[in-house]
């Protein structure tokens, strides 16, 4: 039985319970079971087809959603984790290292949430400190040195707003990464796999291709934060989530991302293997496409892509 569910998943839970009970009864209920399974699948597809933006935020934050280390097991092989920024400490909120994809060595860098409270405390809920971003920078430059593409997996509520983070230059660490990624002489692919939390996400998200899972979100501020500032009421998060245009579809329309990766009905957490397969397919395809582009041209295109972002009136 699922131990955690989102409010809009309750009707699904009810059918799941019926199936469980039926199975416990024993005997021959094959037809009934099959009917219930069909009903469940249909309802799940239905529920997930019509998610509101705030419900997608909930799915993106689902504690069962696959994280970076899960994809490192399912999408990549030969992962060797590397640690530390060589300046202060290793930041467990962000994991990185060599791995193989499509027969080729790549550098994978991703935010890492914890599965339980203990691990979340250690990983600071994937909210990196400056040393996390500096580790990412060090390893991006290592990838550049050995002509390996960089793949980043974004899944963070944001960069950590704390005393130590400020003392050690959180803003500088993010700013430096943006600058470095703008001219990094190797292909960069970013996949938003869960939460794309503002500057903390962008700090590893300036890329030749940005892809995004269907139920992940990417935003300049959390819906709760936005509601608290604009309407002095964090409870208005639905309204804020709607207004911020933070879903994959919205961001594709705005030209912020390049592709949406479909999730299995019921979200990535309902079928992690299917999600991994979809992510792997997308990453391999982009990797092959980018490998064909000469580096100077790649950098020029990267620059042009970001220069064209934004909307304004001039008259």
């Amino acid at each position: 039985m699922p131990t955690y569910s989102l409010d809009f998943e309750r009707p699904l839970l009810e059918i799941e319970r019926q199936i469980e009970e039926l199975k416990k009864l024993g005997g021959d209920h094959g037809d009934e079971l099959a009917a219930l399974e069909r009903q469940l699948a249909a309802l799940r597809a239905d529920v997930y087809k019509t998610l509101t933006p705030m419900q997608r935020v909930q799915v993106a934050r689902h504690p069962k959603r696959p994280y970076t280390l899960d994809y490192l097991r399912t999408v990549f092989t030969d992962f060797v984790e590397l640690h530390g920024d060589r300046l202060f400490r290793d930041d467990p909120a962000l994991v990185a290292g060599w791995a193989r994809l499509d027969g080729q060595t790549v550098m994978v860098i991703g935010h890492q949430k914890g599965r339980d409270t203990k691990e979340n405390l250690r990983r600071n809920f994937a909210m990196a400190h400056p040393e996390g971003y500096r580790k990412a920078l060090r390893l991006m430059q290592l990838a550049e040195k050995f002509h390996a593409p960089v793949i980043t997996l974004v899944d963070t509520p944001g960069a950590y707003p704390g005393l130590g983070a400020e003392e050690r230059g959180q803003a500088e660490a993010i700013a430096r990464n943006l600058l470095a990624m703008a001219s990094l002489r190797t292909p960069i692919i970013t996949a938003v796999i869960g939460e794309g939390g503002s500057g903390g996400a962008l700090a590893i998200g300036v890329a030749d291709r940005v892809v995004m899972f269907e139920n992940s979100v990417y935003s300049v501020i959390s819906p709760e934060g936005c509601a608290a500032i604009l309407w002095k009421d964090a409870g208005q998060k639905e309204r804020a989530a709607e207004a911020l245009k933070l879903t994959a579809t919205d961001l594709l329309d705005l030209g912020v991302i390049d592709e949406i990766i479909s999730e299995p009905p019921g979200g990535a957490h309902s079928d992690p293997d299917a999600a991994a397969q979809a992510l792997g397919e997308s990453l391999r395809r982009h990797l092959r496409q980018l490998a064909r582009v000469r580096i100077e041209k790649l950098l020029k295109r990267r620059e042009e892509k970001y220069l064209s972002m934004g909307a304004f009136i001039e008259k």
Binding site: A165, A171, G205, V220, L230, A243, E303, A311
Partner: protein
């Protein structure tokens, strides 16, 4: 019986009748010092007693920094397009326009500083807290591109609460957009001086404001990634005295120096001379 008698002078109302208009005085918001307004003006809105730097407008920074009569403004027609159709954003822009007298939160242009050509951007906190949306990003990027093309140094005076919420992820992307041009300046060896004023936080501090070859902060300016209120909320305790101030940043190695407003012009001019080097293309303007 009293052994002396205090002579009571009748209070004359004539004493206070020196005709000084009320608006001739100015009070420092920091130390409460009251002085003739003219002295505040001459000190560029810095308190003559405690040195507190009061916030000034973009126009005042332009006047402080560039040679008289050398300012030429660029891209004056850019304004917000409300790309997300974000509720009440248009009204907020209107209110900001009336308050700041500008179309958005940054002014850009070219000028001379001690005779040297310079491209200058000045953010205006009065316009929606100096927040960066598409217009700010585009204007800064165009100015930096101008620097790259003409080989002219770039200077940006920042004052901002961060990215503008009402333009969502497009605001966030302005951090990347400005960064790709600043990266080009770095590759071409064209100097970029970043001047941080009170406050510089969020998406602006986490992009071009902290990307300067030299970073200067005004005394007392609050500079950081997260604003003090957010940090206080996160850690659940009060912040140490002076946390995130310009002086704190210089001590922690995050900025090069703290420079009082009155010295900004000479200091930046001197820095530009040091960093002029030998440029492949002669600066022409």
């Amino acid at each position: 019986m009293a052994w002396f008698k205090k002579e009571r002078k009748p209070r004359s109302s004539e004493r206070v009748k020196l005709e000084i208009p009320a608006d001739a005085w100015e009070k420092c918001d920091e130390c409460g010092h009251i002085d003739i307004k003219e002295r505040f003006v001459q000190a560029l809105s810095v308190c003559p007693k405690c040195g507190h730097h009061r916030r000034i407008s973009a126009q005042e920074y332009i006047d402080v920094l560039v040679d008289e009569g050398s300012w030429h403004e660029l891209d004056v027609k850019l304004r917000s397009a409300d790309p997300l159709a974000f509720e009440s954003y248009k009204d907020r822009v209107q209110v900001a326009y009336k308050k700041a007298g500008e179309l958005d939160a940054v002014r850009t242009g070219y000028a001379r500083l001690h005779g040297q050509p310079v491209n200058l951007a000045v953010m205006d906190f009065a316009f929606m807290g100096g927040s960066m949306g598409s217009v700010v990003g585009e204007k800064v990027a165009r100015l930096a591109q101008r620097s790259a093309e003409k080989g002219i140094p770039l200077m940006i005076v920042s004052a901002s609460g961060g990215a503008r919420m009402q333009e969502g992820a497009l605001s966030l992307m302005q951090m990347a957009k400005t960064s790709v041009v600043i990266a080009e300046l770095a590759r071409k060896g064209i100097p970029f001086i970043s001047i941080l004023t009170n406050p510089t936080t969020g998406g602006v501090s986490a992009s071009y404001a902290m990307q300067g070859d030299v970073i200067i902060a005004e005394p007392g300016a609050v500079v950081g990634f997260a604003g003090p209120r957010v940090i206080k909320q996160t850690i659940g305790q009060d912040l140490p005295e002076g946390f995130q101030t310009a002086e704190f940043l210089v001590e922690h190695g995050m900025v090069d120096m703290v420079v009082p407003r009155g010295e900004l012009r000479d200091t930046t001019a001197q820095l530009l001379r040091h960093m002029a080097g030998r440029r492949p293309v002669e600066a022409a303007d």
